[in-house]
């Protein structure tokens, strides 16, 4: 009798532990998304009042004058992303194709390794390198150097996604094309690449989302610029840099602009993320 009660108690205790553990896990997971909610709410609360049409079309104003916009930063971010894409996309896609076509090659092992190491380099170190390569010989900060820094950061993402997507395409598709007498390079350009286009585009979008918010590599390359600039050899502003400079300033007007800029930047990045997800879902590469 005694024994029975004991096991009963023991059983109940184990069940209780089980339940407590479960709800504890739920609690912790719930807690871990609270920062996201807080960040979004905070940005919307403080940023929404700053954002209007004028915010996008006018230049920042000096301290003390309220209002002013972030046109220079938006133009700068677009320039930097364009420079980075122009450099990273061709190299990334070609390298991805090379890796897929020569899987057991010694060289492709080293290329893969390099891409992996590039991915792990802290962004600030890439900033130093772009400074050494471009800013030092040119003698001044420039949009070009910032674009190159961002391009290096974007490269591994594109290589990886291109390679991974190409891997999913069945061998029979390639063989069918080759059997029809289509030359090898045309098989790749006209059969394999179109078939894996959605995956590659996704990779590019993820790469852009990754670099659009980067600040550290721009600190001593693009540097920031209070004026509107379209020249790639001159310093240029960017949204994250502007947020950094204004957020660490002591002026309330500037904080407000920084919140507005944060809202714009985070909307851009989240839209890109959500778009990417919908895009992959709709045009998933599958055979």
């Amino acid at each position: 009798m005694m024994n029975n009660v004991d096991t009963d108690k023991h059983f109940k205790l184990r069940k209780l532990k089980n339940k407590v553990f479960k709800y504890f896990l739920y609690f912790l997971s719930g807690l871990s998304i609270i920062p996201l909610i807080l960040i979004i709410l905070h940005i919307i609360k403080n940023g929404i009042s700053a954002v209007n049409i004028k915010f996008f079309t006018s230049m920042p104003k000096p301290v003390g004058e309220s209002g002013g916009g972030i046109l220079n930063a938006i133009v700068g971010t677009l320039m930097l992303v364009t420079i980075a894409s122009v450099m990273a996309i061709p190299v990334g896609i070609s390298t991805g194709i090379y890796l897929n076509e020569h899987r057991k090659n010694r060289l492709s092992y080293y290329i893969q390794l390099s891409a992996e190491v590039l991915q792990s380099i802290p962004s600030i170190v890439i900033g130093i390198v772009a400074w050494i390569w471009i800013v030092l010989p040119m003698g001044h900060f420039s949009a070009l150097s910032g674009g190159i820094a961002l391009g290096i950061m974007m490269l591994p993402t594109i290589i990886k996604s291109t390679e991974e997507t190409l891997k999913l395409i069945p061998h029979s598709l390639k063989e069918a094309s080759l059997a029809l007498g289509v030359p090898y390079y045309k098989t790749i350009l006209k059969v394999l690449l179109p078939a894996s286009l959605s995956g590659i585009v996704t990779g590019i979008l993820i790469g852009i989302a990754r670099i659009a918010g980067e600040t550290a590599p721009l600190l001593f390359t693009a540097f920031g610029n209070p004026f509107l600039n379209f020249s790639i050899t001159k310093p240029v502003a960017s949204l994250p840099l502007l947020i950094f400079n204004y957020a660490t300033s002591p002026y309330d007007d500037w904080h407000k602009i920084a919140w507005g800029a944060s809202l714009v930047l985070i909307t851009f990045i989240f839209t890109l993320n959500i778009f990417t997800r919908l895009f992959t879902k709709k045009y998933k590469v599958k055979f």
Binding site: R14, L25, L28, S32, V91, I128, G213, F223
Partner: protein
């Protein structure tokens, strides 16, 4: 086929000669296009090869230029760079210990804070809630958390985390800095949760179903199965996730720079080590690089960059090794 139809009204002999002509023409065309193709193919392959080599050259270039630029500092500072705890550009004394310690402390604290959360998220997603809208939200939320730019984390932290840290400091009778190693660690912890959770999320489902079922059939509860089977089996994979997150935390710059307070002075006792402002390797570069005057000063900062590169490289290699081994097992 179309050719046959169009030359319908000619005689059969005409048709034949015409066809032969056409065919030989098309043979010529095939031959010449074949030649063209060979040429195009060669250039195509060459382009692929060159682009691949460019990737290797970029990495090699990064390594070489970091090293070359830090040679003056390596010569000037010698080995003392790693032991000296005074960083004073005015008197040209460069010791990296305050930054090494700051980096170590922030990353370690961030890991300790984030591990329970990232583990909970990955266990819930892998074992408890597999379908439905709650896991979908949880997944998207952690993905979005990973997408928030570092500078926005820093900005938000300045207005939300530093006041909280300041209150804690006041209640402990410490100087209320607010910006401190602790504040930087908290923001860093929030930033690496999605990263380590995503690795654990990939590793936990790799636990074989039969040993899980064996545990259940012995009467174990879910909690016991998770504790004794799942966590034990996937321990090395989770560890790899932690190592990789550490690699990420060490290189994180902007949010840390904004919240750490940027002080190069090493406090004496442990409590003020956490609650005082500090500096990490990444944040000192971000802060002082554009203002650095003098060759040795700049070169010393590049040397810190080189060090940062090496440390994150090693952590990355270790993490990836463990994961590869785990997946193969």
């Amino acid at each position: 086929m179309q050719e046959l139809i169009t030359s319908d009204n000619g005689s059969i002999a005409d048709m034949q000669t015409e066809n032969i002509k056409k065919r030989s023409n098309s043979f010529d065309a095939v031959a010449s296009s074949h030649k063209n193709n060979m040429g195009a193919e060669k250039t195509f392959n060459a382009v692929l090869l060159i682009m691949g080599i460019v990737v290797i050259l970029i990495l090699a270039g990064i390594l070489v230029s970091l090293f070359v630029e830090s040679i003056p500092a390596i010569k000037y500072n010698g080995f003392g760079f790693l032991i000296n705890n005074v960083w004073d550009p005015v008197t040209d004394r460069y010791g990296a210990v305050p930054f090494l310690l700051g980096t170590l402390l922030t990353s370690f604290l961030a890991l300790v804070i984030s591990i329970p959360f990232s583990l909970a998220v990955s266990i819930v997603l892998a074992e408890y809630l597999k379908e439905g809208w709650i896991p979908a939200i949880l997944k998207s939320a952690t993905d979005l958390l990973a997408g928030v730019p570092s500078v926005i984390y820093g900005f938000w932290g300045l207005f939300l985390i530093t006041p909280i840290v300041r209150k804690i400091e006041l209640s402990l009778n410490l100087p209320p800095y607010g910006v401190s190693i602790l504040a930087a660690s908290i923001i860093l912890a929030i930033m690496i949760i999605p990263y380590s959770a995503s690795i654990a999320r990939e590793v936990i489902p790799l636990v074989p179903v039969d040993i899980k079922e064996a545990s259940y059939s012995l009467g174990a509860t879910k909690y016991e199965t998770i504790k004794t089977i799942i966590l034990k089996y996937s321990m090395s994979g989770i560890l790899a996730g932690i190592v990789l997150s550490l690699g990420r935390a060490i290189g994180e710059t902007m949010a840390v720079t904004m919240l750490i307070g940027n002080s190069n002075i090493l406090p004496k006792n442990f409590l003020s080590l956490i609650f005082n402002p500090g500096n990490t390797m990444a944040s000192v570069i971000a802060n002082e690089f554009t203002e650095a005057t003098g060759n040795i000063y700049l070169s010393s900062l590049v040397e810190i960059g080189l060090l940062l590169f090496i440390v994150s490289f090693i952590l990355n290699v270790i993490g990836k090794r463990i994961i590869r081994k785990f997946v193969i097992e």
